[in-house]
Symmetry: C2
Subunit: 238 residues, 2 copies
């Protein structure tokens, strides 16, 4: 069996990697999580579009939502190509995402924007970290799926403008950002605990380097740093 460290993976290793059922199960799990996450993000952006007071804002958000949804089909195809049922692959992740979104329902337009930016950014960082343990083909598909749908600039502009107009907004949104991070971590932890295949992927195997505690803590450090950078970009303390 070929070594699955990110350095030596290439499309030519795909078929070998996929002969390992544990590996395939982990890839399907990750793709299932990401796909439902994209559908979830689509729904949230469409909701935000409804909250928009200005018609150009509504239009911009609806467009982002459709770009986000455009990532769904290739992900579904990949899951099917791995011999799994896409709907079944997404099923275990429906509840964690729905619980997260229910616990962090934005109370206004700005909270919605911050959630889209901070939440999607955090999720994307996390998936890319895990994708490093997958074959190059799957990894590339994941990276492409997580490409920013153009909302980063839009959100940064709108949030900064709102803070300029009323400085109290900054304090409120900073607290909101912290709450989002907390809820996201709590759901991610629950998923990791329940999905053995993902935990096994991260832990590594006989021929497969995994994450030791030090690597896990470094990953956590990177996620936290990127989160802080995004908050700063919005003009918010983290």
């Amino acid at each position: 069996m070929t070594e699955l460290s990110p350095q030596v993976q290439g499309p030519e290793h795909d078929s070998v990697a996929f002969e390992d059922p544990a590996y395939r199960a982990a890839a399907v799990d990750l793709l299932g999580a990401i796909t439902y996450g994209e559908i979830s993000a689509f729904e949230r952006l469409a909701d935000d579009a409804k909250l928009a007071v200005e018609l150009p804002d509504k239009l911009a958000l609806a467009k982002m939502a459709t770009i986000q949804f455009g990532h769904v089909e290739p992900l579904l195809e990949r899951i099917a190509a791995l011999g799994a049922d896409p709907i079944e692959a997404m099923a275990p992740f429906v509840k964690p995402f729905d619980v997260f979104h229910a616990a962090t329902a934005p109370s206004d337009w700005l909270e919605g924007l911050v959630k889209a930016y901070v939440g999607d950014g955090l999720a994307a960082d996390f998936y890319v970290e895990i994708a490093a343990y997958l074959d190059a083909g799957t990894r590339q598909l994941i990276v492409d799926s997580l490409a920013d749908a153009g909302h980063a600039d839009f959100v940064v502009d709108r949030v900064r403008r709102a803070i300029e107009n009323d400085h109290r907004v900054g304090g409120r949104l900073a607290l909101w950002g912290r709450r989002l991070m907390g809820e996201a971590l709590s759901q991610a932890q629950r998923v990791a605990a329940e999905r053995d295949s993902l935990a096994a992927l991260l832990a590594g195997g006989v021929d497969m380097p995994g994450m030791d505690l030090a690597a896990l803590s470094r990953m956590f450090g990177r996620l936290t740093e990127n989160h802080a950078a995004r908050m700063a970009e919005l003009g918010l303390a983290s």
Copy 2:
């Protein structure tokens, strides 16, 4: 000035037609209404996707929503090509659509499906009737924009299945369909009364054949017949 009856229009007449400011205003008005209608339909389908209990249904509706939104960009471009600001062109129609949707918020998944099918069908019929008074290029764009995003078959299947499972559902949804028709007509009437340009287009002009009362009543008859046919297709009395 060239005659603007549907029979003699062709792309070669576009430039002549657009020299008439009243004609251009009417075309911009109609395109503005349709464009905001599409954005509105996108939002409603995305909402319906959220109401879906089954993941494949959610996926199907989210896909329809994005197809619907795909019609928006060409419509915006056409409005801009006519020398108007797309956002301003949509503005007069925001309230009528929002009022319609607020007055007909579906209380469950099935009501949402019926509303999508019956409401979009009725709106499409109405636009195509008016588009007959426009130049061929604009007319074709409108007809393309109103192409069914694939939800007809989906909705018919789901609604019929629900009625098979519980016959009482049919009575409730039949009432719902009648209410939708009533609210739609009431909003359409309000728009027609407020938008002089559209009324003028329908009434015709010096060189332009318009609708007389008999033609208006025939149009109304066609709209009602098509509505009844759609209800019957769903297995509902109209």
